[in-house]
Subunit: 459 residues, 4 copies
């Protein structure tokens, strides 16, 4: 159940639109699933910035009054998930700086693998940092670039950073859009009349009724200013290595990434899963909400009816008071409920998109059994997660990963109380996400395979 | 789309359990869909009350500290939706009073049709009111009853009130549970070991892992105290007239009401709808989330695949800053998104559970068409809503109701931009909700038919 | 130091002024010293009430938006201090009710000594209470009065209540002003053009630039409505028994009560104190702020210079985080500071307005000694407080009162570390507050003497 | 009335005390008068910082929980007043940075006159800024210093900054205390046992019961670490030019600056004022609270009784809803009240500490006249303010200054409605603040005389 994995961010930008900040607000609202910890918007009226950031959801951070104060026809915004820290608000993005050329705002989705090294170099040169984010490095690099003007300096420094980054950088008059050379994070462009819109996912383009234009290419940058759109590359065109977990879990199902509908891919994951691991059963049940498309795909392939055997409390997303020790066993029931009339006496295929720690899976299987299931067959629409992510996904340690604790699927199945348990194969995953296996992989599957597309700069 | 209709309340109570307030918190959390405006809990330790009420969701109103203060092994709670008012907090329930016998708390789901008359009688006798709720009347009647003690007074006054009421009344040592003579609102009993739990819906019993015991019968009361459970009737056993909208929209799909699973009934509504109004089409799409079961039922009956052609923004439930005039057309897009890959070039059956005002339906049809649908056939899994509800559902005026503005389905369909539009018949509804039509109706269908099960005391 | 005593309330009303709520806000701001726990305003536009109440200071409870919503040309307001309770907001005044004749709002400063008895009678008759205040009784009595209309019922019920009450009662169209038969609390009338203003103290009349008209008389009521001002009595004119602590400590020095400036009386208390208890000394120092007038009076009478030897932290009024055990001894220093240059080597007369518990006095004397005083002579500008107040002042129990713990002034002086300690005599107090001792006392001095002006209804 | 002038800051630090953050909280509470806009504390446990900053008063920014989280035996804190800005919280101090040597926190009272120039130099070198404060420059200079370690770098960079600064800089293990070469701002040292305390004013030393040790000297620095206290100078010992407005208005009267009690100096200002501008009158009245000591001095010198003719609303400090246009004339009355019994028929000497814009003075004179004064003679205990301050005091523009708008005292007196108006002479001021006029001035009187003690770096 991938709600145990946390995306790190979503970015959204608008260039050349009189309601730039309002559109950014709605765009971020559509990207809220990518980060719930903080939200921020910086707008520019061509002369100065107005910005606001806060802890919490987009709808909590902004009010009509605040939004009205964010005047200008350019804006960039950011939603963020983060591991906890003592002074979180400071780390909320977009980060805003003043440097010799004027104002600078940076919104970043991803993770720089050479952050520690670059930070050290910069500090050696006398730079001071106010955040603990890798994103601040980007501003320092621009300020220290030998290229004086932003339009030269910004593209230039992109060769200095490595890892994953879908990046929006704004000055009073210019906006730079860039994507790392591997295209590890999604980033798409849209248009509303003359205005340019950029978003982590196309669902945010839809939300503001922007027409999809194209995806940003790996290693590409775009510079938007009064002279129009200028594009360039800071890296050779490489094989795309987009994070496959975007397809499996993170992205909203109504987004289209690299030409593929996320919803359709999830259905296909379920279909391939049904082919790889067939089973005799009476009903297919999804762990809602993220696994529903895969369950429908499984159902259609296997010819077993899809039924809503698990119902999510519609308010389960809100953070509630956790049960005390005496009532601990209620934890799952407060979020999920099994429908006895559908499950009782049935052989149930339970489709989930992933298993990370395994604890939740165990509780859900138990819930299904208590509702009277005769058999419970768990099918996972992604391979076993065995390796940490260095590109922006917050994961448990290698030891905490369920797939590293037990050797065989059979032992794992027993551990979660299922009659059978099966994972999608890596080949199945790559088939669904449309990759020619003969060539270099064009999706990042490092968390499954351990093969990382970049240097890791560990030591 | 029934999100235009507002339920008025949910109630939950616990008797004889050391974590009474905690369980009530989780029970209310499970009933949150029945009322989002305010929440409250009153606990009794046998000697005094502790209570807390506030505006907002259960998760916003209570903190660990507050909950810890609500000591006692009895508690009742309430979630409320309400039309706006100047001093809303005062109207939040459970209402708490002091009268000659001690403390009194009242939690009420429903609407008293003779409230105006009884209130007038009480005021003539010198009663003063602090709320504008009909619920306050109940406390006054108890305080003025000639039966001195609560265990006699409380059952006695139930004959004085008419309309819909699922009612929990608590003193320091006793709890009274009662349901109106028509059983217009659901009310179910459960057990956790020796403890008794009562809830508007069984989904709340599940949430606290209570075992379902039975539904409260129309016209029945139960008195819980240290002597155990005493039951009685304040009215002859009449035909049950449970609100059919509970099945169509209000209740959570995982609840079981009067022996029927809400999810299954919704599926059946969709199946009957498919029989009554067949259509040639390529995909069945639901207006999420409430219409998904009916869409699945329609799909299974019609043999047309169910697909997730509309996706709801998972954060759409949060109140966000409404678009300004310039961006008004975004209103629907911020909540719903059509998946082009699924809809483009297709003949779409769009299943919704109801049409109230019609404005939202029109926008959704437009969204589907913009995504490239070849045809849009709207199917509604309930009959036309033509009459106001006097039993606790907040509805538009008769003039605002879509079904009263236009004469024929055909004209209605044109009005919302659909190729065809069809509603479930009243007979179809009653068939699904399991009623023997030869006898007196056993579901309230007043909003469809205009036949009200009680006197209305209008003029 | 009388900050250990807590006043219970302040009331303010405006009749016939288009900015009634705004003026009430400013009036309450001027009366804030009379109660800091909650504040509320009810306005009437002649047809309906608009009201708002909240916990905290006037400036915290109201915003421009809220105030703008309180439309109407009549308003009453209230500030309250109260002992703690679980549901404080409910007890915030003005209380608002609906009864047979319409809306009713009550703002009350004082304490009804027969509250318990009357409450019991009302509950026997079936009344229910939502607050734990004695004020709610007043509304019940009006609602149950045999006199039907408010203008008859309201004056009528005043004979039913005993104790202290400065009372404002408002309906949609009428306002009743009343003062208890002993005039235990101050209540003054003013005019702004055609508008009538009523306030607990004249400082609030000044704040809104109202011209002082006259004090309300003991046992008098005034009814203001469209027919003008009607006055009457519910009790024979009795000797005034105004609370002498209003003069000693509670009232603002710029108020005029019963024709006497509070500032001048406090100076006179200091002068008489100097005559009664002369001492050789170098400087007179006040415990700021309340004791400054008495210290100036003492200084002028004794011919010893008044100096600012103690300075109050100007932000000391704010509630701050209390020192932990390790830093406990800082408690006084955070509020008061002794000026060494003035005190060192001097014989100091320290003037305070009262001693209640004695603990603070002890710490202040210590502070003065640490600053180098050669001698410290404490002079208190009121007699020893020995008896509880039943008229609205929150006092320690009899056992906690400093004056009851020790027999002689000498022992008391030792207890607080002073070289000498002396209290003003009761005769001295009465002389300053302008009372002809040959007649019945015309000030309440019950807390000093134990002679209560009303029946106490204890048993 | 100097409440029209705004101090820019107060600083407080503790070294080597287990309750460092708690003491800092109380110290800042005592310095609250020096800045009400934001407050912050950084604590170090020798390894890492914990910090918290927020908008508002010390009592609003911190809770027990927050304070408990600020662990460590070193802490520095800051209270701030500031001109408005869009992102105020970012500018709140202490500023916290990470640089090559570790963590760095800076708290600064004063204003750097070469800030613009230094900032430009730093930006040319590639530095980026996150605040609009001059304080951030200090951190950059340290990070870029050629001296590697803090204990060398910090003293070194003090020669690079000019203007006024009372400065606390902290790393995980060290604290640097420094005062600008002119000693424009006060800064005093105290001891609590082995612990060192530093504060903008001695009133804060008193608050935490620290023993006064000595003032920091102009051009001096102190470095506190595990090796003890090291001191040095970054500038030759120059004549002290402490801001004279600290004596006139800013400092708390119970503070001692450079050996002089602020209270005594204020009294002396009043005495000299009485000698310079004698007048026949009946009472001396102060504009509370800041002018009371000068009024007492005037009274003692002139032999005219000091009376409390003006009373301040004790809650006037709270920000309240400003009167609307219709009630504009209430503005002064909500803060001040004239006591008629004292003023009526009298010749009044009204003592104020300064006139900045003149508008408030005019309203106060009017208030006194409305209370029946026969004559009003305004006496100001400081010279005319004619020049802007560049050292940290927020002043109106030169054109807005009352003393620049009118040529003669006589015209000024008429403008504010006084019978006579007189200002203290510069010589009188210097006499009171204890300066040998034959030598270089040892107080900054630039705002009166226009002679600035530093270069201004304007152009």
């Amino acid at each position: 159940m991938s709600s145990e994995l946390k995306e790190e961010c979503g970015v959204f930008g608008v260039f050349n639109h009189p309601q730039a900040a309002d559109l950014t607000y709605y765009g971020l609202h559509a990207l809220q699933h990518r980060g719930q910890e903080s939200a921020g918007i910086v707008a520019s009226n061509g002369k100065t910035f107005k910005h606001h950031r806060g802890m919490g959801l987009v709808t909590q951070v902004f009010t009509r009054n605040i939004l009205d104060g964010l005047k200008g026809n350019m804006a960039i915004g950011h939603v963020r998930y983060s591991t906890s820290g003592e002074s979180l608000l400071q780390n909320a993005q977009p980060l805003v700086f003043k440097y010799i050329e004027g104002d600078l705002a940076v919104a970043h989705n991803g993770n720089l693998v050479n952050a520690r090294i670059e930070r050290n170099v910069l500090q050696q040169q006398g730079s001071i940092f106010q955040t603990t984010t890798d994103t601040e490095i980007i501003a320092h690099l621009i300020a220290r670039s030998k290229k004086k003007h932003f339009d030269e300096a910004a593209p230039d420094i992109l060769t200095r950073i490595d890892g994953s980054f879908a990046l929006l950088i704004m000055t009073e008059k210019q906006m730079l859009i860039a994507l790392d050379r591997h295209g590890l994070r999604p980033l798409s462009l849209g248009k509303i009349g003359e205005a340019i819109v950029v978003a982590s996912e196309t669902c945010a383009l839809n939300a503001v009724d922007a027409k999809f234009w194209r995806d940003v290419e790996p290693g590409e940058w775009l510079l938007l200013d009064e002279n129009g759109i200028q594009t360039g590359r800071f890296a050779q065109k490489e094989e795309l290595s987009l994070c496959s977990f975007e397809f499996v879990y993170f992205a909203r199902p109504d987004s289209v990434i690299q030409g593929r509908s996320v919803l359709s891919i999830r259905k296909e994951l379920g279909q391939i899963l049904a082919k790889e691991h067939p089973i005799q059963a009476d009903v297919v049940v999804a762990v809602p909400d993220s696994s529903i498309p895969a369950a429908i795909g499984f159902s259609q392939q296997a010819g077993i009816p899809y039924e809503m055997g698990l119902i999510k409390n519609p308010y389960a997303g809100r953070s509630f008071i956790e049960p005390t020790q005496e009532l601990r066993e209620l934890a799952v029931r407060l979020k999920l409920s099994a429908v006895q009339e559908i499950i009782e006496g049935k052989r149930v295929v339970l489709v989930d998109d992933s298993i990370v720690r395994g604890t939740t899976s165990k509780r859900i299987v138990q819930l299904i059994r208590q509702a009277g299931a005769k058999e419970v067959h768990v099918r996972i629409s992604s391979p076993m997660v065995r390796n940490p992510c260095f590109y922006g996904i917050d994961m448990p340690t290698k030891e905490e990963l369920f797939a590293n604790a037990l050797e065989h699927e059979q032992a794992m199945g027993q551990a979660i109380g299922a009659d059978t348990l099966a994972f999608l194969s890596t080949e199945g995953l790559l088939e669904a996400v449309d990759v020619n296996l003969a060539e270099t992989s064009t999706r990042c599957i490092a968390c499954f395979s351990g093969a990382y597309p970049t240097k890791l700069y560990l030591e």
